[in-house]
């Protein structure tokens, strides 16, 4: 497996996401307990953890889909919990969110899926401008010829790519990927990993990648945060986390296969 080392520069003076003392629970279930994390400009951070460990809850809090019970989440200088209405929408336009299920609109073609967020958020665009933006986003994910297809006609990997293209059309500063390689074969997963790196380089984004796929974490991220029982047990480079002596982290790694 090709090891795609991260070559871009990270600005450690500029924190784009800052999470401090974050707690979140659903009824009696405590999902996140005192989560702390800083993501720097130009950095890709993978959040690793078992299914149901609260990884997706974390990025849904970052984008304001869920409210924290306690703690502070500052994204691009704004405290997400305190935002509502237009302020929250303005922040969300600067964040791209790639869903685990791709979440493409079934009733719309690929072109319409991409044009929809653009036309709804940017007023007075001509048809030609929309066409150019859609073509550019599709070209960025290598699916320039799929414009007229319906989501149901696409493969899993293509759906993921279109989902990423739909977020790219608004030129986000931060990308949040929720399980980008889940349900994909190793070859398609490698293509998605390469795409994540291409997006980072082309659009100069910072990313949080939620995954339990170690290959994805190793090949796309500068740092890895290991989420165990609702808290980050270890944050560091992939090698630092992989070589830790913590039993719980070793158990997690021992169950996963690295190509």
């Amino acid at each position: 497996m090709e090891n795609l080392q991260r070559t871009h520069t990270i600005d450690k003076d500029e924190t784009v996401i800052s999470i401090k003392g974050l707690y979140k629970s659903f009824d009696e279930l405590d999902v996140l307990k005192n989560v702390n994390l800083d993501v720097f400009k130009g950095e890709n951070v993978a959040v690793l953890g078992k299914s149901g460990s609260g990884k997706s809850v974390l990025i849904k809090i970052i984008v304001g889909l869920l409210r924290p019970d306690k703690g502070e989440v500052i994204v691009l200088g704004k405290e997400v919990d305190k935002l509502a209405g237009k302020e929250l929408d303005d922040l969300r336009l600067r964040i791209g969110f790639s869903f685990q299920s791709s979440a493409l609109y079934d009733s719309m073609s690929v072109y319409q899926n991409l044009a929809f967020p653009l036309t709804m958020n940017v007023k007075h665009l001509t048809k030609k401008q929309v066409d150019v933006a859609v073509a550019e986003a599709l070209e960025a994910v290598g699916l320039a010829n799929k414009s007229n297809e319906m989501p149901a006609d696409l493969s899993g990997g293509q759906r993921k790519r279109i989902g990423i293209a739909r977020t790219l059309i608004l030129k986000p500063e931060i990308m949040l990927y929720d399980e980008p390689t889940s349900g994909l074969d190793p070859t398609t997963s490698a293509e998605i990993n390469a795409l994540i790196n291409e997006v980072q380089e082309r659009y100069n984004t910072s990313s949080v990648i939620i995954t339990h796929d170690l290959t994805c974490a190793k090949n796309t991220c500068n740092r890895v945060a290991m989420l165990i029982e609702g808290a980050f047990l270890k944050v560091g480079t992939f090698e630092e986390v992989f070589n830790t002596e913590d039993e719980q982290i070793n158990n997690f790694f021992s169950y996963n296969f690295i190509q």
């Binding site: 889909l65 306690k70 336009l93 685990q100 299920s101 979440a103 009733s107």
Partner: protein, 268 residues
């Protein structure tokens, strides 16, 4: 500061789990309806989507409404004729049919058909969008899904169902006429003239008003059930089913109230 933290083990119910759950549902439905009115009058307005939904709901229900309305007209005339013959009052048949269809059947039959066809379709569509994260995808793209999905659909049902109800009444009278014409020679113009001879403005107004209320009910219930669907594909099926059952129940409930009120006005 811990917000929204509920310890289920220590939760005490006001009455019982079932009763509390029922009133919680009523309150959430009320909040959902209130949100509709808040969002409906606030820009941006998605006119194109409203027109698109009117087409989806209206034009695609037209054939079903036409067939059902026509059959209702025939059956109702066939059932009424023997009773009127006993009194030698078959000449009153057009008036009787006219009153029955314009005052009650046209709006009610259309509403029940649309509750089944449109309500379930809205419930299933929004439910499916909810469980496949498409609604969240709109939110993270800074698009208000309530405004785009709910407001447009409810406005479309509120506009379209009264139009369909008027059309259904017209077709039902046509069905009735074919039956009357088969038994005795009469012209279409004369039939319609007789049918409308005892119809007042209040009858037409209350019928249109009823249809508006039914249209709103079908739209808001379908959207509410779909928008709050949970538990995957099973939840989608449940949302569609509950949308039909609840909207039909509410339609009958509203029918009783509106008929009662229009009778009071008539006597007043």
């Amino acid at each position: 500061m811990f917000q929204n933290r509920i310890n289920v083990n220590s939760r005490k119910y006001l009455f019982s789990k079932g009763v509390d759950h029922y009133f919680e549902g009523v309150y959430k439905g009320y909040q959902f309806t209130l949100r509709f009115f808040k969002e409906a009058f606030k820009p941006p307005f998605h006119f194109r989507e409203v027109i698109n939904q009117c087409f989806e709901i209206g034009l695609k229900s037209l054939l079903l409404i036409t067939l059902t309305g026509f059959i209702v007209g025939i059956v109702f005339t066939k059932q009424s004729r023997p009773s009127l013959e006993n009194f030698g009052a078959t000449s009153w048949l057009p008036s009787l049919i006219g009153i029955a269809i314009v005052r009650a059947l046209g709006a009610l039959v259309t509403a029940l058909i649309c509750a089944g066809k449109v309500g379930s379709s809205i419930g299933a569509e929004l439910g499916s969008m909810k469980v496949t994260e498409q609604i969240e995808a709109m939110e993270v793209s800074a698009i208000n899904p309530f405004k785009y999905l709910v407001v447009t659909r409810v406005i479309a049902t509120t506009i379209t169902i009264p139009v369909l109800a008027l059309f259904c009444s017209f077709v039902a009278l046509l069905g009735s006429y074919t039956n009357v014409h088969a038994e005795e020679a009469s012209s279409l113009l004369m039939f319609y003239k007789n049918a409308f001879s005892n119809i007042s403005f209040l009858d037409v107004f209350s019928s249109v008003f009823k249809s508006i209320v039914y249209g709103f009910t079908i739209g808001i219930v379908g959207c509410y059930k779909g928008f709050n669907a949970t538990q995957g594909t099973r939840g989608v099926g449940r949302a569609a089913n509950e949308a039909v059952v609840l909207s039909m129940f509410l339609i009958f409930f509203e029918e009783v109230i509106i008929v009662q009120v229009s009778n009071w006005i008539r006597h007043f």
